[in-house]
């Protein structure tokens, strides 16, 4: 087995040729690559393995049950899947255009100094711990929304399904906004780096054909940077879907399906964080692990879909940034 692998990698040949450095490099590269794969699979296995009692108990129906009753030992995932998807979706909807817009402004329009300084600040923002965002959400954002935003927002959107009902400070909506602000620096900082890496000659090529700066950006810079920008979005989405602390603080942790974003809810991550200390008994803990597994699969599939999406929409067979 090992020798078969070695011959596949041309290791022996390289060693015979005295190509020692190459052989070592190859072994290391494969080792770390496989190591990463191993960790991922190991985590998946652990989540699933620990979730087995819950699977035995509830079967696949776990996914669409909205039961969450520790007393009766009944658990389901649907409302938390809903919470995760809705908060992640809203925050991406807001953060993607704003973040890419900030990056585009910094790279294409702002003077070099502004670009450098603001770029640095944005990278700093990306490093603030999420609990700080959560606190800020409770003590600043939620009261602000209640006093200044609600009075005019509700009359405008209150009739739209999903936006009905009373406006609460601790709500899915507030959590989504906090998430937006959390992932905005991620989107902006990575997009900025990606846009900056677009070669000068690509910009000049489009300008020399008689393009405006906007056309240059949309027809030469963006297509070139698309793979990287989608990578930034995928990373941000992963962060939004998996964010625990800030969301747990602000979303209200209502363990039911919500019909309005102004209502309270819970996400998979927040319900795990909110319950692991009380979790006693096999099925309870096991259900939390199973929820973790669902979250894992959820982010994984969102990423795969995003990847397929770029492949389907990219015009040329080459993707200069190599996807993500």
């Amino acid at each position: 087995m090992l020798s078969a692998l070695a011959s596949r990698l041309n290791l022996l040949k390289q060693l015979r040729q005295g190509n020692f450095g190459d052989a070592v490099f190859k072994i290391l590269a494969y080792f770390f690559g496989l190591f990463l794969l191993f960790i991922t699979l190991f985590i998946m296995y652990q989540l699933l393995f620990q979730g087995v009692p819950a699977i035995r108990e509830f079967g696949i129906g776990f996914l669409w049950s909205t039961e969450f009753d520790p007393v009766q030992q009944q658990f389901g995932a649907l409302q938390f899947i809903q919470g995760t998807l809705v908060t992640a979706f809203i925050s991406m909807l807001l953060a993607a255009p704003i973040g890419i817009g900030i990056a585009a402004f910094l790279v294409e329009i702002a003077p070099e100094r502004v670009n450098r300084i603001v770029g640095f600040l944005v990278e700093m923002l990306a490093a603030i711990p999420s609990v700080v965002y959560g606190l800020w959400g409770i003590f600043v954002l939620a009261p602000f929304l209640r006093t200044y935003v609600e009075p005019w927002l509700i009359p405008v959107v209150g009739w739209i399904p999903g936006f009905e009902g009373p406006f609460r400070g601790y709500s899915v909506f507030t959590a989504s906004l906090v998430l937006t602000i959390m992932i905005l620096p991620t989107v902006a900082a990575i997009s900025r780096n990606v846009l900056q890496a677009v070669p000068r000659d690509q910009r000049e090529a489009m300008l020399a054909l008689g393009s405006t700066r906007w056309e240059m950006f949309s027809k030469a810079v963006m297509p070139y940077a698309k793979g990287g920008v989608i990578g930034a979005l995928a990373l941000a989405l992963g962060r939004a879907a998996g964010e625990t602390m800030a969301v747990t603080i602000i979303i209200g942790n209502a363990r039911r399906v919500f019909t309005s974003v102004f209502d309270q809810g819970a996400t998979i991550a927040s319900v795990i964080a909110g319950n692991f200390t009380d979790a006693s008994g096999g099925v309870y803990i096991s259900s939390l692990f199973l929820l973790g597994f669902v979250l894992f699969i959820l982010t994984l599939s969102i990423n795969v879909v995003a990847r397929l999406l770029i492949r389907a929409t990219s015009t040329g067979p080459t993707n200069p940034t190599g996807g993500f």
Partner: protein, 293 residues
Amino acid sequence: MERNKTKEQTSKEKATPKKQESQTGQRQAEAPMEHTAQSMEVNGLNAYYGGFKAITDIGMKIAPNKVTALIGPSGCGKSTFIRTLNRMHEVARGGRVEGEVLLDGEDIYGKNVDPVQVRRKIGMVFQKPNPFPTMTIYDNVVAGLKLQKRHKKGELDDIVEGSLRQSALWDEVKNKLNDSGMSLSGGQQQRLCIARTLAVEPEVILLDEPASALDPMSTMKIEDAMLELKKRYTIVIVTHNMQQASRASDYTGFFFIEDMGEPGQLWEFAETEKIFTRPERKETEDYVTGRFG
């Protein structure tokens, strides 16, 4: 011999009418390739990068339907100069220009002149081939056209074929127009960039060392294409290749820098034949005969 033969063949192909389906699009393939292009004139031109003056007091008349070659040692400001001719210089950081550059008598640096319009009339091909990597060969050629008004598909097809023929690339890519522009060799990529520039039908084409990264065969093809192109366009080309300058150009400008840190100057400008056989200044002679540079 070989080269003449292939040229004959391509010109014969050009003469035979090809597609019949569209009427309007025939212009590139059938209409005479000849056209009186616009001339340019440069007066008292200085160009800066921030506080650094890169070229000083350049004056030059660029004749229509001729090839004007710019030669000179490295760093003497040839690229800077050629980029001032279509307002690409101001894209560089700190890029600033004084003096005037006339296109058919009108200053392209005039107050109400839009650089976007200037660049539509004065196209540019860069030193390093820079096709758009996410686009197909076809889309690369029409990239500039798509910035302008809408064209019908048949019309675009004809322009693509016409431009690729003019840049001597058609035969090599006609069966793979939907492949990526990056699938081509360096020389082919450069001819693709030329085709892209031709497709928008500018008046003047600026080429900054278009063949410096290419093999002799590709260089030859680009030169041949240039001889055809000057029937239709005014051409300015920067080159380090003396043979290329003497073979393919009608006028030659020699740029020179007297001392390190000084701005580059247009040291001598005349018919190519004169520059290469009877230059007036010693530095020009030294340079064209390869004694330094």
